[in-house]
């Protein structure tokens, strides 16, 4: 490992002179790792986890250490801010821990870089997880980790304003959604019926669900080529941007806190966001009986498809205790552990069985998220995704502000994505 890191610095320069060629040995088509041994975990397992997950995990794994007395789990909490850079640098220099929490949209890059180990055969059963969450681990047909926790985007709306506007249940189709938002505005008294993100970083997470719901797919089935330019995509972007054209949604990016306080003050009648917003809107003074969440509507009455994000657990190629590391990952994926972790930090479990009992099975609000998770997708797990996403964000902004019409915007998304490539 040393020799490789020693080399990389010099070689970056040397390579200019020697001109070695790019070989095609990417993540695609790699075999899953061999099954892990049957015995108990042992030795030190170094784990990186971000933020709150990192804070509580150290104590949380006591159960694992009890079951595996020879194993010692050492958790290092790292800040979410710059976690991507830290992991990327660690992979570059070969100084990784054994296991890390990985943001779902980083999987493609780290796997293609050769930093992550393919998931061992038979470690977990793919069918136990929400399908969209599992997709986030699959890079070029090989799985490189296990989903740990998930989040998905749903429709938040003010029930009192909706009632005033004559709606006692959530919209079921796009036309209804549009009417619902207009009614919240005209009859419910909201300034903007539905707040959507008018482009800029992360707006694809709100916009793409419309496209997915409409049957659009960003890549072909093999994930080798982008297929963004489709009538379904154009139609979805057209629908999305219509909210801005008619001021049903605001056209500027909101400041932190503005959405929640605006929701509380009735400035915004509804918006689309993830589970963390339940706490935020209630903090902002929205009574629990004043608002509700609902699954995203599809275009024609079928359930809409949302975005699924969250975190995966992956074991690094450079791990010298991979067998035990995978055992820890396996333990964290057991339904009981998942449920216990939800109780501890409130992260939604990626394992469906964990939703069958307790609060997760009974709370109606959580049930909405649970149902939406079954109809949710991840973006393509390709190494270049962040760049493609930025291109989509920029064009969503242009379309939302009316400087590019949706059809041209979609064409440009396709041509930019095609020139960026999948990176596999």
């Amino acid at each position: 490992m040393r020799s490789r890191t020693a080399l990389s610095l010099a070689t970056i320069t040397v390579v200019v002179l020697t001109g070695c060629g790019r070989s095609d040995d990417g993540a695609g088509g790699e075999e899953q790792s061999e099954e892990i041994g049957a015995g108990k975990a042992s030795g030190t397992i170094e784990v990186w986890a971000m933020g709150t997950e990192g804070e509580v995990l150290g104590d949380f794994v006591a159960g694992f250490e009890e079951e595996n007395p020879d194993a010692d789990v050492e958790v290092t909490a790292i800040p979410w801010e710059a976690a991507h850079d830290k992991i990327a640098n660690a992979i570059t220099a070969g100084e990784t821990p054994d296991v890390s929490l990985i943001g779902t949209t980083w999987m493609g890059e780290f796997a293609e870089a050769g930093g992550l180990m393919p998931t061992p055969e038979g470690l977990v059963d793919e069918a136990d997880f929400f399908p969209g969450a599992w997709e986030s681990t699959e890079v070029g047909g090989t799985s490189y980790g296990v989903p740990w926790y998930v989040e998905t985007r749903v429709l938040y709306y003010r029930t009192d304003l909706a009632a005033k506007a004559g709606w006692d249940e959530a919209p079921q189709t796009w036309d209804e959604l549009r009417q619902f938002a207009e009614d919240l505005q005209t009859k419910g008294g909201a300034e903007h019926g539905l707040s959507l993100q008018p482009g800029q970083t992360g707006s694809w997470q709100t916009m793409l669900p419309f496209a997915w719901s409409n049957g659009a797919s960003l890549t072909n089935d093999e994930g080798t080529e982008y297929t963004i330019d489709s009538p379904e995509m154009t139609e979805a972007l057209d629908h999305y941007t219509s909210y801005f054209a008619d001021e049903v949604s605001q056209t500027r990016v909101l400041d932190p806190g503005e959405l929640e306080s605006g929701f509380a003050d009735g400035v915004f009648g509804s918006f689309i966001s993830g589970p963390w917003h339940t706490g935020l809107v209630e903090d902002a003074g929205v009574g629990a009986d004043q608002y509700a969440v609902a699954p995203l509507p599809g275009p024609d009455g079928a359930p809409g498809t949302s975005f699924v994000g969250g975190g995966d657990l992956a074991v690094f190629e450079d791990s010298d205790n991979a067998d035990s590391a995978w055992k820890l990952v396996q333990w964290l994926s057991e339904p009981e552990t998942q449920q216990a972790f939800y109780d501890e930090v409130g992260d939604l479990p990626a394992v469906q069985a964990a939703w069958e009992t307790g609060e997760l099975a009974e709370d109606p609000q959580l049930q909405v998220f649970g149902a939406q998770l079954e109809e949710a997708q991840s973006p393509p797990a390709v190494p270049t995704w962040e760049q493609v996403a930025a291109a989509i964000d920029a064009l969503v902004e242009q379309a939302a502000k009316g400087t590019t019409d949706p059809e041209d915007a979609v064409k440009q998304m396709q041509s930019e994505a095609a020139s960026i490539g999948t990176g596999l």
Partner: protein, 315 residues
Amino acid sequence: MAAVSTTPTGTGRPVRPRRSRHVDPTRRSQAIAAWVLALPFVVLFLVFTAGPVLASLGMSFTDLRSTDVRDPFAVEVVGLGNYADLVQDPLFLKVTRNTLLYLLLGVPLTMAVALAAAVGLNRVTRLRGFFRVGFYLPVVTSIVAVSVVWKFLLRERGGLLTTAAGWVGLDVPGLLDSTTWALPTLVVMAVWRNFGTLMVVFLAGLQTVPREQLEAAEVDGASAWSRFRHITLPTLRPTLLFGAVITGIGYLQFFEEAFVMTKGGPLDSTRSVTFFTYDQFGFGNYGYAAAASYLLFLAIVLLTFVQFRVLREKD
């Protein structure tokens, strides 16, 4: 770097009248002393800077991506390909234009405000330390607090600026949401945030202004402006040059204000070259990002060269 080493680096000392062929013992001992003094920097430079700079320069001629770092032999050498792509990348051209605007607006404003503050503080006798700390506060205030307060000031609805302008009948739009006004607004914010550093530097420089000369000139009836122009400014010249170079580099590498306030928007109107580079690094396009960095480096070299010319150190 060649361009830099040929810049006039006048040492401020007169040309020695005697430049004979035999080695002057003073010159020799000076040379030895100078290299002893230079040694720590040079060693640290060779260990920690030279390698990474060369490596990153090499990177800029390849298509290295973050996914190649474990196997750097497997990249293609693209020669000047990244550079050629950059100058044709419409976004890069746009961020270049933005960066030039940041530079042209920001440097004179920051210099002027910092110098005015320093000269003002230098004249004040009471509460001097109080003002000094106060003017330095923006430098140390958390960027998060700064952004919250500035956004509140600039917000379209209910913002202080819009409200105040409304009192005098002006209709000020949301400055940060305007493709025209967002950039100048960020410049004003950057000036506010950064002049404190330069002010401190100028204050130190002002201490070298010979007090006796100022007093003598005052006795001779020279006006305050004339004293400033003919005594203070010339003495301050090296410090001003330093300020101009540092501020120029700062604005050519403009990033943080745009990052927290506008994320480069609206419609990329506040995105800078460094922002672009940061994004490209984030996307994992190390080769392309390095090339963009070195184009920026060239721009900085050029600017510094001009600044050394204009503010030439005189003997």
